[in-house]
Symmetry: C2
Subunit: 332 residues, 2 copies
Amino acid sequence: MSGTNRRRITSKELAKLAGVSSATISRAFSPDSRIGSATRDRILAVAREYGYQPNAIARSLNNQRSRLVALVVNAIGNPCEAEEQQLLVHRLQARQLLPILLCCADHSDRLQLMRLASTYQVDHVVIFSDMVSMQDAVDIFHTTRPIIVSFEPLENEDVSNIRIDGALGAGEIIDKIVGDGKKRFAYLSGTKSSWIDKLRRKWFADALARHGLSFEAEAFGDYSYDSGFKEAVLLLHRSKVDAIICGNDVMAIGARDAARRVLGKNTPEDIAIVGQDGIAMAAWDCNDLTTLSLDHVAFMDAVVEVIERHEAGDEGPHSITLACTPRWGSTA
Amino acid sequence: MSGTNRRRITSKELAKLAGVSSATISRAFSPDSRIGSATRDRILAVAREYGYQPNAIARSLNNQRSRLVALVVNAIGNPCEAEEQQLLVHRLQARQLLPILLCCADHSDRLQLMRLASTYQVDHVVIFSDMVSMQDAVDIFHTTRPIIVSFEPLENEDVSNIRIDGALGAGEIIDKIVGDGKKRFAYLSGTKSSWIDKLRRKWFADALARHGLSFEAEAFGDYSYDSGFKEAVLLLHRSKVDAIICGNDVMAIGARDAARRVLGKNTPEDIAIVGQDGIAMAAWDCNDLTTLSLDHVAFMDAVVEVIERHEAGDEGPHSITLACTPRWGSTA
DNA sequence: TAGTGTTGTGCAAACGATTACACAAACGCA
DNA sequence: TGCGTTTGTGTAATCGTTTGCACAACACTA
């Protein structure tokens, strides 16, 4: 049991040791199957002694269920995704499902990566990344119904989705800032290409429109602190805005630091700064960010609920909508 | 090709369609195997047409290599681990290895989780978590030689390891702080049980000893901002320390906020605060933390190097040591 | 032209489990 | 006692690949 035995013992070998057939070994490890309880106990004892565990690969081949889940994400380093992934991974583990992580950073070949994962016959696929197209996901994982995290109703009826809607929350935030006397807004995007980012921007743009306002300036970062900092400096040098809505919290913190350090502007008096995501860090004393926040726990609960329905055989497609709500901090 | 076909086509079926045997299909997908290039091209064309990809589960069963890697971590939410994992996942993906994430947060049954992963016949195991004992890891993954990230030379000769040594760097930091006139030090631990934390503490304690000093106070958090904040408040209320060494950067930021907000003490004049890890956030303008920093890129390069040696058949065990160096910020 | 490689392909046996089917033993009941 | 049911176990097929072996076709060489 202790020490390294290079080879793992197989059910057939264990069968010989326990004086039964390999079928009986298998039954000893399946909770509800016809087997004498004395036999099962004996087998489990012998199995423990020799460190036997059924080979999940062989089992998957036979069952046609791998109990693997592909998680397609942009980046782990991004705190927002990290928080969500943490929650999701725990929920999966509790259900004896193992997550395979696919990280779609810019340089990697996302499609090839997804194809590779799909050859492992994953039982479920959760797409968090807005860098892969829905159609690609459906094509590549054509045996599982993917679960897509989206920000608008989907026209494709082959995917289940979790939809996130921040229109109302964005409205509340804009109302407050306009009420405080700010008039000149800028939007600092997370990426140029992301359709998620475009939608988030639209929530705020629509809210501004109701006040007869619109974004006077735009900038594009990459969701990182550094890009938030740099773009905010450029933005504030070239236009006289008094409010910046940022694509995520991390960029908002960067923008806040830039305003304070480079231009000597304080929040919320001189300039209002708003984030999006509602990561834990936003609530830290040194940040205390006003942000359009998503309840990550509810979010991941929703994902797991859809997974469970799929597991139960009800492939839907299912759709769940979650609303974002403001977190009021001292930056706006 | 587009649209959802529930069932995946098998090599035998494709063989029929292409007018060859399934063995030939297999050979078409193995880079160097005896097969006519005309046949291969034809098969690949037909395969593309029907969306065929060899089943990795079946292949793994036959090959005895799954190309799966188990990553045993404490938590993804922790920025330090997230940064490292991000780097590692990319490197694995580039080598067509897929990571399975095992998250050892407090409540989950770590051993059962590792046993589950081991049934998937993972080719490699990387243990980042100090919540699992080395012996458990070796026992459970007895067919692969685990790679352990450790902070001291290991006596167990069955594991490869990456050893992290911060003794020198800690010395530099302590020298500087003592040189600045500070005399009363506290250590704010990440956890009570972690042996990693104990070793990190020792680096600083040894350095203090060379100045004839020692830690006057201790506190225990859980590596989170909130715990850093809370414990620092308690610590500063019950003792008159003028320097706090923290178990990680996030706690250091919490402690800094607590000192500033609750007690009105500024760094580095009133109190010196030091972190450990060297996460990206430490360098943000709003933090500018002095911290004992590890080069995460070099760290993950080392992990991958060991994996590659194992893949090449040289199971070592291998050991690589990395040193931590100070990052000088404005908090100490 | 016969002899020797070399190439390309198919057959069939693994890989390590699960499970439908068959069958013997044990049991319940009239 | 005899029949029907339940219980426990074994046999063998199956899941979808890979690969050693055999063999035919072809290309060289002498």
